[in-house]
C-alpha cells in the first residue's frame, strides 16, 4: 500500500468514525425520552413489587390457589417461586414488562429508521458521508443499548429492594434479551416493508404471535412444552 493510499484510507476511516458518532448522537436524541420512561417503568415496577412483598403479609395458600387458576396462569404465566420476593415479582410483572419492552423496542426501531426515511429526513443525512447501512446500523446499535439498560436497571432495582441476586440478574438478562430481539424484529420489518405503518403492523403481529404462543403454552396443560 502506498503512503498516499494509506493516508486516504486513514482519513476516510476517521471521517467515517466521526459521522458514526454523529449518527449515534442523533439516534440517542430521538429515543432518550422513551428509553428513560421504559427503563424507569421496568425498574420501578419491579422494585415496588419486591418492596410490597416484604412489607405486606401475603397468604401463601391463597396465592397458590390463585396461581393455579388457568385464566390467571394464561395471563401471568406459570409461577416459579411464589415464596420468594424475586420469584413473586417476576411472576407478577414479568409478562407485562416483557410486552412493554417488546412493543416499545419494535416501534422505536421502525420509527427511527423507516419513519425517518419516510419523513424525508434521512435524505439530508444520506447526502453526507453516511451510507444507508451505516445509518441503519448506527440507529439500531444505539437502540439496542436501551433493553440492556432496562434489564440492568430492573436487576439492580430488584436487588436493592431485597430480591435474590442470581434470580434478579437472570430476570434482567431475560428482559434485555426480549428487547434485543424486538429491536432486531423492528429493524428487519423496517427494511422489508416500504412504509412505517406496514413495518409496525408486521412487528406487532410478531409480538402478538409470541404472546399468544406463550399464553397457549401457559394455559393448556397438554401444550406445556411451549412454556
Amino acid at each position: 500500500m502506498s503512503t498516499a493510499t494509506a493516508t486516504t484510507s486513514a482519513a476516510t476511516g476517521t471521517t467515517r468514525a466521526r459521522s458514526s458518532r454523529v449518527v449515534a448522537a442523533l439516534a440517542a436524541r430521538q429515543i432518550y425520552r422513551g428509553a428513560l420512561v421504559v427503563t424507569a417503568l421496568c425498574a420501578g415496577m419491579s422494585a415496588l413489587v419486591v418492596t410490597m412483598y416484604h412489607s405486606q403479609a401475603l397468604d401463601p395458600a391463597a396465592l397458590e390457589t390463585l396461581a393455579r387458576n388457568p385464566a390467571i396462569r394464561t395471563l401471568f404465566g406459570e409461577p416459579g417461586a411464589l415464596d420468594d420476593p424475586g420469584g413473586f415479582t417476576v411472576w407478577r410483572t414479568g409478562a407485562f414488562l416483557t410486552v412493554l419492552l417488546a412493543v416499545w423496542s419494535s416501534l422505536a426501531a421502525t420509527r427511527i429508521t423507516r419513519g425517518e426515511e419516510d419523513a424525508g429526513r434521512w435524505y439530508l443525512l444520506l447526502s453526507g458521508r453516511t451510507t444507508l447501512p451505516d445509518a441503519v446500523r448506527g440507529h439500531l446499535g444505539v437502540l439496542a443499548v436501551v433493553p440492556l439498560a432496562a434489564g440492568a436497571a430492573t436487576a439492580a432495582a430488584m436487588i436493592a429492594a431485597g430480591a435474590g441476586v442470581t434470580g434478579s440478574l437472570l430476570h434482567g438478562a431475560g428482559l434485555a434479551g426480549v428487547g434485543f430481539f424486538f429491536v432486531a424484529v423492528g429493524g428487519l420489518t423496517a427494511q422489508l416493508f416500504g412504509s412505517r405503518s406496514a413495518a409496525n403492523g408486521a412487528a406487532a403481529a410478531i409480538v402478538l404471535l409470541g404472546l399468544l404462543a406463550r399464553m397457549v403454552g401457559d394455559g393448556v396443560t397438554t401444550l406445556a412444552w411451549m412454556r
Partner: protein, 296 residues
C-alpha cells in the same frame, strides 16, 4: 481537459414498467454552473438520486470527479446537496441542524456559514418544527454552500424562497463559481437558470433532449401578451416579434412576443387599448410548446 466534476454514461433507471431515466450520457466540467431542466416527471430528481448513489442504476454508471457515484463514502466528501423537499428534525433548532449537517458533510467554513445565516436572514434559534418551507430550504442551502464542497447538487433549491432570498441564492452561486466550485442546478425557473448557468441540459421523458448554452436557451424564451380594446383591434399581422396571433372575440387579441417589443408596442399604442396583460410563461409551458405535448 481536466477531470469532469460529474459524468454519466448510458445511465438508466427503471421502476417497474416506468423508465425514469433512459440512457443518459452527460458531462459537467469542473467549475461550471450547469442547469438541469425538464418538466415534472422528466427524471431530474431520479438522476440526482443516481448521482448521489442513493438509488442503484438499472444500467450505466455515474462518476463524481472520477469516483464511482456508488462509492458514497468517497464521493460524498466532494458533494453538498440540497433536496427539493427539505425535511428537518422538528425538535432541533436551526443552529443544531446546521451543526449536525456540518459534522456529517464534507466540512464547513464556519465564518462563511455565519455570513450566509445573516444574508439569508434565518433565525437559527427557533426549532426547525416552526420553520416554513422557505426557511427549511434556507437551512439546507446555508449548510450546502458553507461546505465549500467542490460539487454542489441543488434540486429545485429556490422553489420556496421569496424574490429577495432568490437574489441571495444567486449571489451565493456566483460566489461558488468564483471559488472554482461546480454547481449542478435542477430548476424550473427560467430566470434563475438564465441568471446563473453557463450551460443547460434539457431532460424529457427520462431522455436527454438537448445540452445547450444559456444563449441558445434564450431563443426558446417567449412573452405572452393579451390585450383588449375599446374599439377595433389593430392589425398586428406581420409586426416584427409578434407570433401566434389569436383573436379572442372582436375586441381582444393574444400573441407571443419574441425579441424586441418596440414594434409591437408601437402598433398597440396607435389603438385604443383598454387592458393589457404581459405574462412570462413558465419553463414547463415553453418546453411543452417547443417539444410538443409528449414532453413528459
Amino acid at each position: 481537459m481536466g477531470v469532469a466534476a460529474l459524468r454519466t454514461q448510458h445511465l438508466s433507471k427503471r421502476y417497474g414498467g416506468l423508465l425514469a431515466v433512459d440512457d443518459l450520457t452527460l458531462q459537467v466540467a469542473a467549475g461550471e454552473v450547469f442547469g438541469f431542466l425538464g418538466p415534472n416527471g422528466a427524471g431530474k430528481s431520479t438522476t440526482i438520486r443516481l448521482l448521489l448513489g442513493l438509488a442503484r442504476p438499472t444500467s450505466g454508471r455515474a462518476w463524481i470527479f472520477d469516483i464511482d457515484a456508488a462509492d458514497i463514502a468517497a464521493a460524498h466528501r466532494l458533494i453538498a446537496h440540497v433536496p427539493a423537499d427539505v425535511a428537518l428534525w422538528p425538535r432541533m433548532t436551526g443552529a443544531e441542524v446546521l451543526d449536525l449537517l456540518a459534522r456529517i458533510g464534507p466540512g464547513v467554513d464556519t465564518a462563511y456559514r455565519d455570513e450566509l445565516i445573516e444574508r439569508f436572514a434565518l433565525d437559527v434559534t427557533k426549532p426547525a418544527g416552526t420553520y416554513s418551507t422557505g426557511n427549511r430550504q434556507k437551512v439546507a442551502l446555508i449548510a450546502a454552500f458553507a461546505t465549500r464542497a467542490p460539487l454542489l447538487v441543488l434540486d429545485e433549491p429556490t422553489s420556496g424562497l421569496d424574490p429577495l432570498m432568490e437574489l441571495e441564492f444567486r449571489r451565493a452561486v456566483t460566489a461558488a463559481r468564483a471559488n472554482g466550485q461546480t454547481v449542478f442546478l435542477s430548476s424550473h425557473q427560467l430566470a434563475e437558470v438564465e441568471a446563473v448557468c453557463d450551460r443547460v441540459a434539457i431532460l424529457r421523458a427520462g431522455q436527454l433532449a438537448e445540452v445547450a448554452s444559456v444563449a441558445a436557451l434564450r431563443r426558446l424564451h417567449r412573452t405572452e401578451v393579451a390585450a383588449t380594446f375599446t374599439g377595433t383591434p389593430p392589425d398586428l399581422t406581420g409586426v416584427p416579434g409578434i407570433d401566434g396571433l389569436h383573436h379572442d372575440g372582436v375586441a381582444a387579441v393574444r400573441f407571443t412576443l419574441d425579441g424586441s417589443p418596440v414594434a409591437a408596442l408601437r402598433a398597440l399604442a396607435d389603438a385604443d387599448v383598454a387592458t393589457i396583460a404581459v405574462r412570462e410563461p413558465s419553463l414547463e409551458e415553453i418546453f411543452l410548446a417547443y417539444y410538443g405535448q409528449d414532453a413528459r
